[in-house]
Assembly symmetry: C2
Homo-oligomer: 429 residues x 2
């Protein structure tokens, strides 16, 4: 067998979670990538892979790339600012005014270039991304994401009611036409890593008519869907008032074929989902993008993730930049653990805190399933990997590999410690 | 007037909080340091300071140094590991076994050197530090802290019951003698920046006899006190069982003169203080070291800091390494805001979330008062300052100075962005 760009072997401490809560660590073992596909982890290199190039990362940490199930590219410029507002005020005062700027392709190019560069440098290998209502700017975003080497879904956002003039699409028909143009233009460009996703912003900004049209387009092109669900009590109450025909918030999407069943759908937050809604999420196989930092910063609350895990629902993690102040998925992993501890302590002592191996699973295989066989080093998985050099923060004592892995996440070593990064078998860093 | 090492003028965006919640920003203004003492902030340099050297940091952020009111030096080696345990289990499995190692002066030297180096590089200019029971190792810690340039209180810990053999002082008398030796040896060394502090670990590890002796030593040498208070419900319950003579947890210190009144006393946590205890804390003028990261990681809960602020109690922030996983006080500032939002949402909707200017105050002037006139750029304050270069994280849009300041904290720019740092008028970085 010949080596090629997408065929190689990494040697180092291989860490991954084939099941939730089960962390496998194979010290100084070999993980094989053949034509971009993982062929498993071995103590000795099997005969059949003997010809492959070996990348020697002895004593380094090797783990699957992080999957960010929910991030807003246009909000990256105000990351870490305006954090003293709650959700609805924050949308009006900070978020919408920034998003209006993306009508300008020059600004979009400048801002999205910084965003794509940041994601490329960080631990994320896959992401599900919101753009804005602006088709041309969102096409620019797609192009930059394709060049970054990450594998992503990118959505042109639909908003046709109750938003400031600069962000209001003039009609449901117009929104649908632009969505169609976005999808067809993307198809023409023949990207390998970048795909469109149907993206109604959230029910308060989307007319029924628009939702119906987006549902039709989704079906016609067989596309996945992303949106927001049950983020804060105030927002849930607002939806109850303005969409009384929906049995519950999520039903407002489901009525139009935008809530799982025969599409891959990811809904951010699900902090305040009612039992009825939870049942529907599960039945329809909808992914939950748990975004703990954002839920804290906007004072939305803590999502009952333990309960979702117990029900074997589909859960991944999202940074939700810029409700989440950071694009770091390492931070998302530790935030998810941390909020689950406060949930246990202050809300429900029957809901055990998440452990590090559980949260790592959510950030890799949990969210990765949205993309297919992604987020693990099992045979047949698309090959996404990080190699971490954690020697930058010295330590007086010997640490086990598991301790080193946990420390890398808590101390944010995705910011300075990434030695190499691979997505779909391609080396990005 | 002549320039000297401790007399100079910094030019840049001067940011500080003279009162809680009031953030003053003076853009490209001058802050004067004369013989280590701040002489205030000026638009133009006053005639009387015309001879002083000007350090031009135009367009950089200048803010008071951070005051860490609670940090365990010996726990630094396991920062960010073992985070899946609760308080009492974590003490037994992680913390005590590590602290036992400091019987060995060689290990202590190695570990404390890394600790001192980390604090020197970070945003902290003042700290109140726990050592271990080991007098000689804690003297090594003091020496390294003195060399670091930070201004600190360092405590040899007292523990004479219910701990593993390697951490058990053989009697209350022995603990008292060693405390006395620690104090006298420190005095001989004539440090400028490093002072001893009386440090009973917490009531479950301290006999009444030891507490009584430490109370006498405190009085004799007129020293401040540090300890832990009402951290988790399980610990509060334990104290109730083992110290029934105390009216409440804090009374267990107060009975022996180790709880404010005529001493500066700082108590870490106060998450679960009863109304009686809160009243006594306030009456006695005890400082509360709010350690949000630790309270999350050990699932202790969220301290009702808004309530303490409303009662005009003395509150500062602590990192509580390694219950807190990071020595970053910038992180402590944003953690304090974040947990207050969850407290508002899930525990008490009358307790408004902390704002960024409020939390910044806690980390500077709030905790600084434990050291005297520290933590502000008002006339007469000891001069601690940070100069931040926040250009490392590019941004597509113009940010106001206040947004830049907030962003620097949320994005953790204390890790890479500190250009200069001054403590008590001396430049450390």
């Amino acid at each position: 067998m010949e080596s090629s760009g997408r065929s190689f072997i990494l040697k180092g401490h291989i860490c991954y979670t084939p099941e939730i809560g089960r962390l496998v660590i194979r010290e100084n073992a070999f993980v094989v990538c053949e034509d971009g596909v993982c062929r498993g982890v071995f103590e000795e290199i099997p005969e059949r892979y003997a010809g492959l190039k070996i990348i020697d990362c002895t004593d380094r940490l090797i783990l699957p790339g992080m999957v960010d199930l929910h991030i807003h590219a246009p909000q990256y410029p105000f990351s870490g600012t305006g954090m003293d507002f709650g959700l609805l005020e924050w949308l009006d005062k900070i978020t919408f005014p920034e998003e209006i700027r993306y009508a300008n392709a020059e600004y979009a190019t400048k801002a999205y270039r910084i965003f794509a560069q940041a994601l490329k440098r960080g631990a994320t290998t896959r992401a599900v991304i919101f753009g804005t209502i602006h088709t041309d700017s969102t096409l620019i975003l797609e192009e930059l994401m394709e060049k970054s080497g990450l594998v992503t879904y990118v959505g042109k956002v639909g908003m046709d009611r109750d938003v400031p003039p600069g962000l209001l699409e003039k009609s449901a028909d117009f929104s649908a036409e632009e969505t169609r143009r976005f999808i067809e233009e993307t198809a023409k460009r023949g990207y390998r890593r970048t795909k469109p996703i149907i993206t109604p912003r959230f029910i308060p900004c989307c007319s029924e008519n628009m939702m119906r049209l987006l549902g039709q387009i989704r079906k016609e092109y067989d596309l996945p869907v992303q949106s927001h669900l049950s983020e804060s009590p105030e927002e849930v109450e607002l939806v109850r008032e303005i969409a009384p025909e929906a049995a519950f918030y999520g039903d407002g999407y489901d009525r139009f074929g935008l809530f799982g069943r025969d599409s891959h759908t990811v809904m951010a937050h699900c902090v305040w989902s009612t039992p009825e809604e939870v049942k529907r999420i599960k039945e329809n196989g909808v992914w939950i993008a748990h975004c703990p930092a954002s839920n804290i910063n906007l004072a939305s609350g803590i999502a009952p993730i333990r309960r979702y895990i117990e029900k074997k629902m589909r859960v991944g993690l999202g940074t939700d930049v810029a409700g989440g102040h950071s694009d770091s998925m390492f931070r998302a992993v530790t935030d998810a653990i941390q909020v689950s501890k406060l949930y246990w302590r202050h809300v429900d002592q029957e809901a055990k805190a998440l452990t590090f191996p559980e949260s790592l699973y959510l950030a890799t295989k949990g969210g990765g399933e949205f993309f297919g066989k992604v987020g693990s080093f099992e045979d047949g998985f698309e090959f996404d990997a990080l190699v971490l050099d954690d020697s930058g923060i010295p330590c007086a004592r010997e640490l086990s590999v598991q301790d080193r892995l946990e420390r890398a996440f808590y101390l944010g070593m995705d910011r300075m410690g990434i030695m190499m990064k691979f997505a779909d078998g391609e080396q990005i860093i």
